[in-house]
C-alpha cells in the first residue's frame, strides 16, 4: 500500500512530540535511558494540513487538542504472529503421543 505523506484537515493521523529533555528526566534512570529524551505519540483528527515531519495540531478521541510533528497518516497496525517457531512445532505431537502411552498403562488407564 502507498503510504500517505500529507495530511488534510479531518484526516485520522498520528503525531509525535518530545515530552522531556534528557536533562529533565526522572533521577535514578540507567544511563542508556537517561541520555534519551522521553517521546510520545498520539492519534486524532488533523485540525489543519501538514506533510510528514511538519508541525500539526490534532483533536484526539477525548476532544483534547495536541500539537506535535505529523508521524503517520491513517496509521495502521502491522503486528502479526510470524513464522511457526521450530523450537515449538514438535511439542504438541510429542505430548499427545506421551499422553496416549501413559493412558495405555495400568496407572494411566484408571
Amino acid at each position: 500500500m502507498a503510504e500517505a505523506t500529507h495530511a488534510q484537515k479531518g484526516d485520522w493521523v498520528e503525531i509525535g512530540r518530545q515530552l522531556l529533555d534528557p536533562a529533565d528526566r526522572s533521577p535514578n534512570l540507567p544511563p542508556e535511558t537517561a541520555d534519551k529524551p522521553l517521546l510520545m505519540w498520539v492519534k486524532g483528527f488533523a485540525l489543519g494540513e501538514a506533510a510528514l515531519g511538519e508541525e500539526l495540531s490534532i483533536e484526539t478521541m477525548t476532544g483534547r487538542q495536541v500539537t506535535g510533528k505529523l508521524s503517520a497518516v491513517n496509521p495502521g497496525y502491522f503486528h502479526t504472529f510470524g513464522d511457526p517457531i521450530p523450537e515449538l512445532t514438535r511439542v504438541g505431537k510429542d505430548l499427545r503421543a506421551r499422553l496416549a502411552a501413559y493412558r495405555a498403562t495400568a496407572q494411566g488407564g484408571r
Partner: protein
Amino acid sequence: MANRFATIMARRAEIMRAALGMDYDQFERSPVAFDYEGMMDAHGYSLQDIVEIQTKAGVGNTPLLELRNMTDLVRSMSAAGKGARIFVKDEAANLAGAFKDRRASVSIHVAKEKGYEGVIAATSGNYGAAVASQAARAGLKCIICQETYDSRHIGQPEIVEKGRVCEAYGAEVVQMTVGPELFFHMVELLDETGYFAASLYSSFGVSGIETLGLEIADEMTALTGAPPTACIITHAGGGNTTGTARGLKRAGATETQIIGASVDLSGLHMASDTDFNRKSFTTGHTGFGVPFATWPDRADVPRNAARPLRYMDRYLTVTQGEVFYVTEALVKLEGLERGPAGNTAMTVAVSLARDLPREATVVVQETEYTGAGKHHWAQLNFAKQMGVEVRRGDPKENKPGTVIVIPETPEQIRANDFDLSRMRTSYVRNALKAAPEGYEPTSDDIAFLAADTNSEPATVERMITELREV
C-alpha cells in the same frame, strides 16, 4: 520546558486527591501504619454489590474448566500416588479478554457515580483494554498511557496490540518511550482533564478481583466438594494475588494455599531502554512482582490496596522458556489458545501438581486473550529479531535477555521457591525508610507490619533489630 517533571511531581499529591475520588489521609495512623481494612471498606460496596455491578458490566462468571489432559501429562511424570487435578478459570471469557475487567468494572462504576467525564489509566497491559471497554459501555471518555517503544521507536508487539485494542474501544492512547515518567505524564493529563484516575492499585480495582476468589471457592466446592488445595496466581503488581486471596478467604476457603507465580526476569532492568524489548514478557514477571511486593506504596495511589505479602504462602518462579512450552502444550492438549503471561501460573501448576497427592486440586486462576503480537509465537519471533537466542535444552540455562531455552521434556519444568522471608525483611526495611529519620516504631506499627507481611509481631521486632545491626 525546564523542570516540568519536577513541577508536576511536586503537585502530584494535590492532583491525585482530586482524581481518586477518595481522601486517603483519613486512614493514616502513623508514619508507618495505616488502616488497611478501613481503606478497603471505605467505598461502601459489599461483595454482593460488586457481583451486581459486574453482572451489569458483562464481567465475571467465567467458566471453570478441569484440564484432564494436563493432569494426566503431570501424572505421567509423577511418583505413585502423586499428581493433583488441575483446573483453570478461563478469565479470557471476560468482555475485554482478561481478569482485569473485574478491576476496571468497579473503577468505571465509581467514576460514573461520582460524575467524572472521563477516566485515565497508566498501563501497558490488559488493564488498558479493560478500562477502555468498560468506559465505552459507560459512555465515559478514556485515556490510556502506555510504555510502548524503545528509543528507536520499535514497539513491543504485545503492547502494540494492547494499544490497538484500546483504540478499537474508542480510547485515546498515549504511547511513550521507556521510562517511569509514564506516571508523570498521567498526572499531567489528570491535571489537564479533571478525569478520574482509574488506578490499578485503588481499593475499587482490587475489591473487583475478590469476586474471582469467591467464584473459585464456590465452583470448586460444587464440583469437587471442597475449595482447592492450592490457588496459583500469576503475580505482578500484586492486585491479582491480593484480590483473589481476599475473595477466597471471604468465601471461607481459609485452608487454600495462596501461591504467587512469576516469570524470572532477573538481570533485566525495568527502566532500561535496551532491556525493554528483550524481556519477552510484559507482565507476570519478577521485575514487577518483587519490587511491588516489597514496597507496595511505590504505586500511583497514596496507599496501595494490593499488598501481596499479606496473603502469599509461597512465591514460585519459572523461566521464560518453560512458560512458552506450557503455552504451546495448553493449546495442543486442551484446545485453549491463550496469552502467554497468564500461563505463568499454569507453568507453576505443572511443577506443583506433580508434588501434590492425586486427591489434591490446584486452580490456575486466570487465562488471558491472545492474538497477533501477544501470541507466544509472536513473542518468540520478536525475541529472535532483538538478538535473543531461542533454543531447546535445559531450562536451567535460560538467561533473560540473552537466551530463551525451551524445555526438551515436561520433566524439566521445575518451579523455584523465591525466599519469602527475604521479601518480608525487605518490605520492613522499605516501610521504615519511608518514615522520618530516627522515627521509633510503636507497638501499633509493629502489629501493622506483622499483618502486612503475614508474620508474627516478634518476627518483625527481630527483623528491625537485625536491620539496625547492618
